[in-house]
Every structure is written in C-alpha cells, then in structure tokens.
C-alpha cells in the first residue's frame, strides 16, 4: 500500500495569506515530483507550488480563492514508491516564482515556446458538455448565463443566498465592486473582460491564436491598473555622460577580472540614490486611503528585466550602502536568475523606484508606466554622440536621454524636473555620488 502524504505549503518567503488562483491538479491525477500543483498570487508574483513527491492525488484541501500560508495542507497524495524504496522528498521544495511587476519598457522579442509549467492549462475535452469554468459554483443556470454575459467568473464570486448560493445580485455587486476602482482583485484574464467586442479576424485573412502566458496576463493586469489609476506625467531630460563613459571604459577590464560586467545601469542606480536622497517624495508611496505619504529611508531599486517568460523587476537592496562593483555584480546575478526563471518572490519585493533601460535596443525616449506602489520610474534610452556647444565651439559629447514617469498626485512638475536635472548632473560628474 502506497504511503499517503500530506503536501503542505513550504516556506515561500515572508508571504502570508496568499491567494490560490489556480488548482492545477484534481483527485486521481498522477503527478511527478516538481509537477506544479497550485498557483498562488501575492501582490507581485505568481508562484507555482511543485509537488515534493511522485504519486496519485487523493484529495485536494484548497480551492481557488482560499488564502493560505506556510504549513497549510494543500492536498494528500498516495506516494508512488520507486522500485520499492519510498522516494525521498526533493530537498528543494521552494516555490518557483515568476514575475510580475510592471514597467512599460519591453523590447519586442519573439515569443518562444513557454515551458510546460507556465503554459496555459487548457482543460481537457470533456465527454459531455460539462462547463469547466466555476464548475462547482453554487448558482442556477440563469445566474450562470448572467455571469457569462457580464464576463464574471463565478469562481470568484461569493454567494449571499442560502448555503452560499450565488444570486443574480451577488454577480451584479461583484461587477460594481470590480468597476469601482483599485480594490479590484480578480486575477488577470478573469473577472471583468475587456470591453472590446470579439472580432472575427479570419474574415480579413489568415490568423493564428496564441494564448498569453500566465506571466504576461498578470503583468497585463498590473500595467493596466497602474496606467488607468495613476495620473502619469513623463519628464524628459538629457545627461552628458562623456566622462562617465570614459571612466567606465577605464575600469571595465579591472572589473572583468572579478567577473563583473561594469554596465551603465550600475552607475544609474548609484546616481538615482543621490537624487532620491535630495527628493524624498520620489522615494515614497501613497497611503491606501490617499491621505498621506509613506516616506522610505531605505533605497531598494528595481530593474526591469526582459525574459522569455515576460517582464520581471528584481530589486537590488540598499543600493546606497553598496559600492559600484557590488551593485554591478548584483544586477548581473539577478538578471541571470530572472532569465532562468529562478527568481524568488522575495527578490521581487520591496522596491522604492524602478529603472528601465532600453539603451541596448535603441530609441530616443519613451514613457514608462509606474510600478505601484512606487511613485516614479526612470526610463533610459540609447546614449548617442552629439555636437554640444560649449560656449566657444561644438564638441562631441555622449548624451543619454532620460525619461521620468511620475505620479502627479505625489510629485509636482517642478520637483520632477528638479529630480531629473539633478540626476543628469550627477551622471555628468559622478564625483557627486561621493557627496
């Protein structure tokens, strides 16, 4: 007889009461170790919890919408012992976190095939016409049709009728709540669907349907929420980085000996700290009631990293306390982990400000979208050599375009211009970093 094991939620970092947004297995399913069992969503990341054992799922103790913490029993599994010996649990049961924070800047990249774990879980075709969506929701056919018309997933609606039955009013109330602003909590792609009517594009030519990855769908919701709820303004400026670049080139070899790639981004992060110290409102968050500002005395800065899975914003901690080389080394390590899909949820948390650089691709400027609860984001385009008049004649100078998108509820135009100007000055003469 196979031993029956309880699978509990492992340590997932300092998360508590994390919402289950997807249950990926059902009783009777055979799973291997590392097969994703459920998907959790915190404010920033989705995490798939992989199975620590191989075996057959017996019963599932959680459902979509439950909030669970470390130690919660997820399901029971009849373990399949390999060759008689019971398989040892895989030591690393850490959840694999994926994204997802926001920044507008995502260079177009060909979408590669998604790894199976992240690919859309398509329900298997059913022999009879059983509805999969919210299939156990306690609601009558008329309410189910009403929910379909409004694009509401009944799995997300709590019922107020006898024994939790979902009534028509519950669906209406859910819709009203979802429409009334930032309290919206439906995962991307669920809840309210977009108002764009479906169009049969095949009337115009050949088409192909490609499902969006989970990462992209969640990023889409964060981006949309930020874009539609925060009054964005973008301030543009330019920094003369001729000297900075000369210094960087001079130090590159030395850094390379320590396996450090000394990039412009490391300098940008250090310079940003100087500007944040002088403009504390840029290093803040609006309180949820909108009546106060939380000013931060720490300097954790996120960097937008484009990966095959979608966009990630890993956070470099305490940039103010670290040297240029250390910052450069951490940028390098976190980007690599993000690209490998191995970033941990805690590494995506706690950012004060985000830097998104498209310098590697090109362009002269863009308007990044703020990554809430932050209040500003710096976009950086490609530096270019340009003739600059120094009062006597034109001299070739390396000019870096800066684009600061800011939350106008928190930051005034004058302050934003001042912040950007200061940043440009610091970059022009990096000795400011020492001050």
């Amino acid at each position: 007889m196979a031993p029956v094991r309880e699978v509990v939620l492992p340590d997932i970092g300092d998360f508590k009461d994390v919402e289950v947004i997807e249950v990926l297995v059902k009783p009777g399913d055979d799973v291997e170790t590392e097969t994703p069992l459920i998907t959790l969503e915190s404010d920033k990341a989705t995490m798939e919890v992989p199975s620590p054992y191989a075996g057959t799922v017996q019963s599932i103790q959680v459902k979509v919408g439950d909030r669970i913490s470390e130690g919660t029993v997820i399901l029971t599994l009849a373990e399949r012992s390999a060759g008689g010996a019971s398989a040892a649990p895989v030591p690393d049961t850490a959840t694999r976190a994926t994204i997802a924070t926001t920044s507008a800047a995502e260079p177009p990249a060909p979408t590669p095939a998604l790894p199976a774990a992240l690919a859309e879980q398509r329900p298997p075709p059913l022999p009879s016409a059983e509805v999969v969506r919210g299939s156990r929701a306690h609601a009558s056919p008329s309410v189910r049709r009403f929910a379909r018309e409004l694009g509401v997933d009944l799995g997300l609606v709590s019922g107020s009728g006898p024994k939790g039955r979902i009534l028509k009013d519950d669906v209406t109330a859910f819709t009203r709540k979802a429409l009334s602003g930032p309290v919206i909590s439906a995962p991307a792609g669920k809840g309210l669907v977009s108002a764009v009517p479906p169009i049969d594009f095949s009337r115009f030519g050949q088409t192909e349907l490609r499902p969006l990855s989970k990462v992209k769908r969640i990023a889409a919701e964060h981006l949309h929420r930020s874009w539609s709820t925060i009054p964005h303004v973008t301030q543009f400026d330019e920094a003369d980085i001729t000297e900075l670049e000369a210094f960087r080139q001079a130090k590159r070899k030395e850094a390379a000996q320590e396996d450090i790639k000394l990039t412009l981004l490391a300098f940008l992060l250090k310079a940003t700290v100087v500007a944040l110290k002088r403009h504390p409102e840029v290093n803040s968050s609006l309180t949820s009631d909108g009546e106060g500002l939380v000013l931060k005395r720490y300097f954790h800065i996120g960097i937008a990293v484009n990966t095959d899975l979608g966009l990630f914003v890993p956070v470099i901690r305490d940039v103010d306390q670290k040297g240029l080389y250390q910052v450069a080394a951490e940028v390098q390590a976190l980007s690599a982990r993000a690209r490998a899909g191995k970033i941990e949820p805690r590494e995506l948390q706690g950012g004060c400000f985000t830097v998104s650089s498209l310098g590697g691709v090109g362009g002269t400027g863009f308007t990044p979208i703020i990554n809430p609860p932050e209040v500003a984001i710096l976009g950086v385009s490609r530096a270019a050599m340009r003739p600059v008049h120094d009062g006597q004649g034109f001299a070739p100078r390396l000019i870096l375009p800066l684009c600061l998108s800011y939350d106008h509820r928190v930051i005034d135009g004058v302050a934003a211009a001042g912040f950007t100007r200061l940043l440009a000055e610091v970059l022009s003469d990096i000795r400011h970093i020492l001050l």
Binding site: P27, E130, V131, H138, S140, P141, R145, R148, K163, R203
Partner: protein, 485 residues
C-alpha cells in the same frame, strides 16, 4: 449552376439542433438559410427516431396493459393488430410536427433549401437537390456564418448481407411486417426500444449484446428490473455475445434443417458458437457522426477520426465563423442536447455572450419499464473515487406504481458526501423518463438532499419516490422501515 443565395447564417441539417439554431438565429435578426436533404424538416428525431418510436411504444404499452389486465377481470380479447392503420396514425403524428416546423420556419422567414450541402470554401456551400426533386436544382450558398448540424447515421456490423429483412431502426419503424422471430443486435437504448415494440406486436425476440451489460451507460441495479422482465418474455437475452454472420436463405433455396428460418445467424457467446434461425434481424449497434460527409476540409474545418467535429464552449469549430452542434459535434447523441447547443451557436453568432450552461444531460430509454438517468452514475462515482452517499426508494412502496399494476421500479439519488448536493439520479419504472426532469433541475439548481426531501411532492404520484429517495438518504423516511444505521 443556378441560384446563388447570400445569407448571414447557413444551417446544415434541420434536425432538432439545426432547426432550433436556425429559428433562434432568425429571431435574433439574422438572415438564415436552413439546408435539409430530406423533404421534411425535423431530422432523424422527428421523422425516423424519437417521435415515431414513441408513438409506437405507446401502442406497445397499451397492448401490454390490455394483456396484463386479463387476469384482473378486464378481458378485451386478443388484440388484433393491423399495421397499415397503425403506420398511418404514426405518420400522422410525425406529419403534424414536421408540418408545424414548416410553418414556424415560414413565420420566421427562414429560407429552407432542400438538398445535400458540401463546403466549397470557408464561405461557400454547394447544395445539390435530389434528382427529380422540386425545381430546386443546384444552389451556391455564400454565408458569413455556418452551423454544421448534420447529425449521425446508424452504423452496421460486418457480416450482414444486403437483405430487406435486415433492418436498421428506420426500417423497423416502417412496420413493413411483424416478423415471427426477430433478432435484435445491440442491447443499447435503440435496440431495446425496438425489442419492446416488436415484443408487444407479437414477435418472438432475441437480443444479442457484445458487452456484458444492457444499457451500458446506466447503473446495473437500475437496469436489473428491465433485464429481468426481458428475460421472462423474450426467447433469449444473450450478453457478451458476438454475431459472427447472418446468412440469408432465399425461399427457393433448399433448406435441409427444418428449424432454420429464412435468416440464420451465427452467434458466439461464452458457451461457444450456435446457429439460430430468424425471420428478421434488427441491427442497432450505435450511431456514427457524419463529419466526413460534408467536404469540411474545403472550409478548413477539422474533423476527427471518429467523424466528430471538435468545438469550443461557444460551439465554434477550429474555423471561428463555422460552428458545429449536436451529434456531429460530440456525444451524447441526444436531441435535447443538440437543441441547446443550436441555440447557443445562434446566440454567439448574433454577438451574445452565450455558452452551454447545462451541467448535465439526461438520458432516457423508453423501454418497458422505462429507464432514465442523469448526472453522475454510481459506476462512474466508484471509478472516479467520488465520495458519495445514496438514497434508493423501491416503487413497491409507491401506491401509484402499484395502481399501474407495476412494482419493480426504483428511484436512486446520489449525493456528494461532504455537502449533500445531488450529483446524479437514476430511475426505472413506468414514466421514469418524466421523473428524471426533477433530478436534472435539482442538479442545475445545486439542491441538496434536504432540499429535495423537504419539497412537498404530490400524492399519489410516481414523483413521490424522488422525495422519498432523498428521505432515505436523510434518514427521515416513514414509508419504509430502515433499521438504525
């Protein structure tokens, strides 16, 4: 090429799914063309399926009741059956319904084209009228949306010769003659319904079924009273038996064995092969979807090996403006499922946010006794490891059933063990098919055992057994004595 018909919606097939779809589409303001290859609307269901068979099965029940009440003081003599008036009465029932459909189509300004449709391209259908058919000729129908509702056809088994005495269900319903000895191949719904009909009309019936169960989709405890009755009345009910071959002996052939009839069938069961003689053979071994008969590839619509056209929740095929519904899309092959799917397709085409809302589709075998089931069966529950509880109420304790002179029926309800919600229902007995609607509604509404037990059912009716089965599960039943659990 004659006429070119331009339309918003073209529906292929005027069966219960197709006409429901066409009518709904027209009601939603779409210009609709309904294409049907037979002269009458209604498809298999109305013309050669559900409706004529139910008319004749009513007659069968009447005959059986007349016979049964002989021993209770009502002797109407031996029924003398004349097939001609019976057939024309049945045809009258069918005509009334198909004529009604014609009127409904006209009132909605749905254009009905008679002919066989095949795809020419993703936006064109070619319709060929039957030769000698009205002056319809050939049509090219160009459409914005098409709905494939072309249904299914009876399948056969290898080893059956071409012979007028070898019938499919359509031929059997024509009542060309009443054979003395009838072999029914297939112990599913259609085979058993036809067996019941010809048994009542006086044929000696032998049923052969390849699997080890009659009505394979239903739980054995529900089928048992039917099986017992069939075994009492029929010459043979052979399970796990294969028909190896049927040989037709023409009347001028020399027949050596005086026991062999005009058709001899070689059957192979567990006891080894035997040869038996019959006067007619009915083949009812299932139906096959017509997916490969439409030139679907010219429209880019994918059809799977079995002939089904895969669809999504909105009934769309892989080509987004072409839909498929009913038998041709997916099992179960039932008219009431097709009609729901047809209306969903029409609504989606009209831009509504529609979908198939039904969680369960009920099934009924109009045998005597009737068998009906919906939702989860106990067999499935065990196989899937579902934790369930059940309530069974025997009709021997139901006054209405006894007043019908019948006591073998039962009603069974399956409940989720944790929240007591109804998962499935099955019933056996006269009019079980009408009772199943309550279970279907209860599942759709998410009723639990107490909801059903506390709902007042009228007395004396068969429907009481539904409430009482829930009471059995709840432990509150007073019409039975159940030892304490």
């Amino acid at each position: 090429m004659s006429a070119v018909e331009k339309t918003e919606v073209a529906v292929i097939g005027a069966g219960p799914g197709g006409y429901a779809c066409a009518f709904r589409a027209a009601d939603l303001g779409k210009k609709t063309v309904l294409i049907e290859r037979y002269p009458d609307l209604g498809g298999v269901c109305l013309n050669v399926g559900c409706i004529p068979s139910k008319a004749l099965l009513h007659v069968a029940r009447l005959i059986d009741e007349i016979r049964a009440f002989k021993q209770h003081g009502i002797d109407l003599g031996t029924p003398r059956i004349e097939t001609e008036p019976l057939r024309s009465w049945t045809e009258g029932v069918v005509r009334r319904l198909t004529g009604g459909l014609k009127t409904l189509a006209r009132q909605r300004r749905v254009t009905v084209l008679h002919g066989t449709a095949t795809f020419r391209s993703p936006h064109e259908l070619h319709v060929t009228g039957a030769p000698g058919d009205q002056p319809q000729g050939e049509h090219l129908v160009s459409f914005e949306h098409a709905v494939i509702a072309a249904g299914s056809q009876a399948t056969s088994i290898p080893g059956l010769p071409e012979d007028p005495r070898i019938l499919d269900s359509t031929a059997a319903l024509r009542l060309a003659s009443i054979p003395k000895r009838l072999l029914v191949i297939g112990g599913g719904v259609i085979g058993l319904e036809m067996a019941c009909l010809y048994d009542a009309l006086g044929s000696e019936i032998t049923v052969v079924e390849l699997t080890d169960r009659l009505l394979a989709g239903c739980d054995p405890d529900i089928v048992k009273p039917l099986e017992r009755r069939l075994r009492e009345r029929y010459a043979g009910v052979h399970l796990a038996t294969r028909v190896l071959a049927v040989e037709a002996h023409m009347s001028d052939t020399h027949i050596s064995d005086k026991d062999s009839g005009e058709l001899s069938a070689r059957l192979e069961g567990q006891a080894g092969p035997v040869t038996q003689g019959f006067d007619a053979v009915l083949c009812a071994v299932g139906r096959r979807p017509n997916g490969h008969r439409l030139g679907a590839e010219l429209a880019g619509v994918s059809v799977n090996e079995a002939g089904y056209i895969p669809i999504d929740a909105q009934m769309r095929t892989n080509v987004p403006h072409i839909f498929a519904i009913g038998d041709i899309a997916r099992p179960p092959l039932l008219a009431h499922k097709a009609a729901h799917e047809g209306r969903v397709a029409a609504e989606v085409i009209a831009g509504h946010k529609s979908g198939f809302e039904g969680r369960v589709v009920p099934s009924v075998a109009y045998t005597d006794p009737e068998i009906a089931w919906v939702g989860l069966t106990e067999t499935e529950a065990v196989a899937q490891g579902v934790r369930y509880g059940k309530g069974v109420f025997p009709w021997a304790a139901n006054g209405r059933s006894l007043s019908y002179n019948r006591s073998e029926g039962l009603t069974k309800l399956l409940f989720d063990e944790s929240d007591h919600r109804l998962l499935g229902m099955a019933a056996c007995g006269p009019n079980a098919g009408d009772l199943i609607a309550e279970g279907t509604l209860a599942i759709e509404m998410g009723c639990d055992a107490r909801d059903i037990a506390l709902t007042i059912h009228p007395h004396p009716t068969l429907s009481e057994t539904v409430g009482q089965a829930a009471e059995v599960f709840e432990g509150t039943v007073t019409d039975l004595y159940l030892p304490r659990r």
